[in-house]
């Protein structure tokens, strides 16, 4: 299991993005799957930094763990920010004209919808956002 710990602020998004693309590519996800995983992790990390920490007057870290099995890549973000389950975010109304759309909710929508499985746990006063991507089946020669 790999672990990366970064400060829970927007300056960390770049390093998180690079780390996710590198990890996803290493385990054999194609370009599109690597991108949507990066997008998912980036969106949730953004919300943790902006709403979980900054707007709540808190500071803290985000720890990213990756676990690899034959079939899956699992990425877990852990933080000590205020409790928030992204699954409770109302879905945006994609049918509304753009100039009538409320701002917000889009990032979480793209995150949850973009990965094969999304889970959330609250453990020991920490948020755990869990992303699972299926690995392409290995071709045996």
């Amino acid at each position: 299991m790999d672990v990366l710990t970064v400060p829970g602020n927007l300056d960390s998004l770049d390093i998180i993005g690079k780390y996710m693309v590198e990890t996803a590519t290493r385990v054999g996800l194609d370009k599109k799957a690597a991108y949507t995983l990066r997008l998912a992790v980036d969106e949730i990390a953004t919300n943790i930094a902006l709403y979980g920490y900054e707007r709540a007057g808190l500071a803290g870290m985000i720890t990213i763990r990756t676990a690899i099995t034959d079939d899956t890549l699992t990425v877990t973000l852990e933080d000590t920010a205020i409790a928030y389950d992204p699954r409770n975010t109302p879905a945006p109304d994609l049918d509304l004209p753009l100039d009538m759309r409320p701002i917000g909710g889009l990032g979480v929508f793209l995150a949850i919808e973009g990965v094969d499985e999304f889970n959330y746990e609250r453990v020991d006063n920490r948020n755990r956002n869990i992303f699972v991507m299926k690995r392409p089946s290995r071709v045996t020669v």
Partner: protein, 109 residues
Amino acid sequence: MAFIVTSEFNGDTALMNLTGSLDASSASALSAEVNKAVVAKCQRLVLQVSSLDYMASAGLRVILFAKQKMGSQTDIYVVGAQETIKDTLERSGFDQAVIIMDSYDPAQV
């Protein structure tokens, strides 16, 4: 990768060239340029994104901001988007509200 935006304002058209990674930490640079287009009363926003590697929802929010501030009659073009970015525009329903083009020819629009 750092985000860079350069703009040209020609009459009612604002042409912006986006390079790098557009996420929540870089979106304010693009909003600042869009504000200039609002002040200049531009009616057309052309986003050249062929060198843009990544766009998070923060980028979508700038497009939303542009549509709301420049007016709903404003045409927003997204030109040369990579497949991954097109996919984000489609998944979020933004492909209905912006004009996605492979290349931009002012004579054709």
